[in-house]
Symmetry: C3
Subunit: 432 residues, 3 copies
Amino acid sequence: MMDANALGESLYGFVRELYPICRSITGPGLRETLAAIGRHVPLALCEVPSGTRVFDWEVPNEWSIREAWIRDGSGRTVVDFRDHNLRVVNYSTPVRARMSLADLKPHLHTIPERLDWIPYRTSYYRDSWGFCLTQRELDALPDGSYEVCIDSTLGPGSLTLGECHLPGQSRDEVLIYTHACHPSLCNDNLSALAVATWLAARLAGRGDKRLGHRFVFGPATIGSITWLAHNEDRVANLRHGLVLASLGDAGGFTYKRSRRGDTATDRAAEYVIARRGGRIEDFSPYGYDERQFCSPGFDLAVGRLTRTPNGRYPEYHTSADDLSFVSPRALAESLAACEEILDVLEENVCYVNQNPKCEPRLGPRGLFRTTGGTSPGEFEHALLWVLNQSDGTRDLLSIAARSGLDFSLIARAARALVDVDLLRPAPALGPR
Amino acid sequence: MMDANALGESLYGFVRELYPICRSITGPGLRETLAAIGRHVPLALCEVPSGTRVFDWEVPNEWSIREAWIRDGSGRTVVDFRDHNLRVVNYSTPVRARMSLADLKPHLHTIPERLDWIPYRTSYYRDSWGFCLTQRELDALPDGSYEVCIDSTLGPGSLTLGECHLPGQSRDEVLIYTHACHPSLCNDNLSALAVATWLAARLAGRGDKRLGHRFVFGPATIGSITWLAHNEDRVANLRHGLVLASLGDAGGFTYKRSRRGDTATDRAAEYVIARRGGRIEDFSPYGYDERQFCSPGFDLAVGRLTRTPNGRYPEYHTSADDLSFVSPRALAESLAACEEILDVLEENVCYVNQNPKCEPRLGPRGLFRTTGGTSPGEFEHALLWVLNQSDGTRDLLSIAARSGLDFSLIARAARALVDVDLLRPAPALGPR
Amino acid sequence: MMDANALGESLYGFVRELYPICRSITGPGLRETLAAIGRHVPLALCEVPSGTRVFDWEVPNEWSIREAWIRDGSGRTVVDFRDHNLRVVNYSTPVRARMSLADLKPHLHTIPERLDWIPYRTSYYRDSWGFCLTQRELDALPDGSYEVCIDSTLGPGSLTLGECHLPGQSRDEVLIYTHACHPSLCNDNLSALAVATWLAARLAGRGDKRLGHRFVFGPATIGSITWLAHNEDRVANLRHGLVLASLGDAGGFTYKRSRRGDTATDRAAEYVIARRGGRIEDFSPYGYDERQFCSPGFDLAVGRLTRTPNGRYPEYHTSADDLSFVSPRALAESLAACEEILDVLEENVCYVNQNPKCEPRLGPRGLFRTTGGTSPGEFEHALLWVLNQSDGTRDLLSIAARSGLDFSLIARAARALVDVDLLRPAPALGPR
């Protein structure tokens, strides 16, 4: 297994590889990104045609862009899409025109309080066009006539979803959704794309699991809506889920609870993230794709893991969310936290004590000290806790919480008790 | 609509008008008071004959008083009912006698620690008589013989209840009970009589409401018991209720919860009163008529709103609870707080999201910003919260609480969503 | 009734009487101890033969010991069982041998950090032998050859349980379990043996009770397991229970909750112990016999009362837990606390208000002041609380908690209301 440094560098390398691609919610950039992921994990692609009804929405026309620039009266190019993917408003309709600065200005977006940053703007569901530039660039534009060109196509095509399914022994699954539509923004969301890809690759190599894992890569909002519309029959088996985003910045972790707020996913993530010094936040219906998974008609046990959440760092949705804003170290630590959460979910079973009346004898089973009168050690305490609490209704996380012992110790005690036939998994293995 | 100053003066004027009347739990003073209320709101009167069994109680004989005095040996009147209604123990039996000071003293009530205040004493359910005077007056009485006269009548008659019913579109009702039996005491309870009367008059003028409102004016304890005994068939429709009392003094608001403690009435009142800096208290079976509504056989969602509660201010049940103890400003503010609570109850419905699977598109419905990439505003947050939480089990108050947004903003978002058919009221409109 | 000083001395006298006996989990010392208890209370003895299967366990062979010593090369006795019962590892198999110090050492137990204390060690479920001595004694042993003798018997016999049953009017019972197996250790557990014996004796003299009481004296762990295995049909009637241990030291009380944590036993003990400045601890599956009663297959409402808990004082399981470690005063106070808990359990009934609609009239029943206008006293408050809350689901402890009034005042109010037929016990008298 790679060490954390090497792992961080490999994650960062994938971010660097994906950074130049101009992604959107449909189109060639998204397909190119999924193809890159597919070189690391087995990825099934699904193309959903434009116009397909998905609940209250419709899959939009496909967008592709070749060229976009603004030239001043002297023919000098003052804004050029080739130097940054953010320069064109995502989903801009084609335009070729000459106009005055006054007429042009409503189409120009800047961040007034950040002179040298380019904002990220989109116009998915309204026909319009525009350019993004720095405030300093805007301020320098002289009055006069400008030539404007956006050479884009917006027409029937399809929306692409990528899915990596790693089956488990049971029908229960963990969903991991990562949005793959943002253009050159490193933290949001190349960081999570890299982490999710590596997570899937490493899980795939780790042999049989109780839980299946389903990694979905697609556009934000319309992607999760489309996936849910096409996978309603799978929802019953989605026992846990995580939306991953913004996992490369220097901030601490933030876990946002599911709508229900106390699912096993929530408790597992809280256990892991609190021990890593992270913050736990209640659910709110604003954010990333958890909004769809936690809509009242689904109400799934899907939480969200980020470092600094969307909108709470100045670089968010600007050109400053670049390769310098994320680090190999943060990426590697994010991957480790995700793996730890999945490990806890995997082991967090409800068991039934097979000798529920009085304590069983642990000594003859090789699980207990034999000279009486001294105090039991931590592992013996863990055995007693697991036996006492395992009535088929309490999972190992709740036993860890009540006992104050580490989950890993509790899980080890449970395995030891299963080995001597004192414990069996409850029919419904764990809580949702 | 009147401004707060004018409103306060009009409320205070009604207190001043009612102050001289000698009220009791039955009799002409109570009727005169209800007649005054009936000049402001449509009031149905109900006379319940003495001796009528009402649960464990019996409607008492009716009491009326014409004259009461004590004269000393020289014939000088030393205590006279004509100068203050509190001077005679309420429900005193008639007496005409001459007696020594020693024999008289057991019939004289004072407040030893307040030399110049007259106490308020009653003797509803025991045949006896007495006078109330100041400690200073008592101390000044020389030994000797006194002539005593109480010209009262205590005999078969009836107990009077006044009821103002404002029907709503639904069968669900809000009960507002205000005790109307105390003689010349301004805060307890002319203040609440004025507030309740104005509240009813203003509601009557505000057009159709979802909820009906039922204002009941009657004596404390025996009045609410009698009303409940005669209206058991209405109890099922009493979804909310407030006992109003002591709403004119300078203290902050105190809301006392219903027996259940977490009814929609409680949550609405707590929301309003906490934002006005008031105190919230748990239920206790001592106080005003909430005791009857919250007896275990009814257990209604009836809380109590006061300013300073009974017994917690020295002027309570003394002649110092006079016209100087209440203010137009406090009365107007109390009226505003009551209206706000009723408004919240009116709007606090459980809704069902009509597009529960994933978020609906708000932009095409004119409810959302169209350029993506920026953060939604507060109203858009409110829309998302209402949609996410509206599964038919959570009322708008609970959504306001969970979101941290103002109830008024949440209610406005709900109305906007109803207008575009994204929301419908749940079959059981709201919690009790 | 004896005063506290005399009571403390009598309890201490019983501890002193039992101190010299060499107890174990079976055998003559245990029988002698139960015989001593039986001179104070009616005690039924039960002998369960060695080899009897009790759940996952087997009743062990019976152990008796006559003599045990170590002699050095010169024939001098360096360790002698006759001077302290702890000197031989409890349940040592017989041995007679000569061996070098090196070969002997694995059989010698000390407390390295306490030079002059002898540890208490057992070897119940593994065939072995050993001696306990002080570290100073061990350090003084010269190299050389030693003669070792343990003249013990370990063979088929029986395990002895003593039970004092005091029937109540109802089938519901309180179980009090006290372990009686530890040899010369005063706090653990002669203190609790004395307290439980006196508790039973005093209860037996106090006439009819609603609840039955069942005092069981037996060995730790295997004793409670054996009792449960032979009394499974009684478990349904065990509504409350306490394990008593370590009740003679100078520390404050510690009540450890049952597995369920909120049973009526827990609430009663918490009420009493918190008012005595004691600590309340959550359940854990380590400790004394509560482990068996709270195993998931029984999950009984059995908590544990100690002063300083097991393992949290240095004298625990050493020769320093001697007659100087316990005091008459602590013993008397422990007895008083136990009696108080049993009294609360006895009175803690759920009642049903027989006049649940509105308040009943208390004045005509002699329970309320007759002159109105003044505030009710504490007892009148208690009457109102009991009437308001008594809907058959809330016990007097919960009414005391909600009202903030003393349990004794609430119980007195309930008795007064029962006397005037306003209250009846609920069909299920109280919570478990």
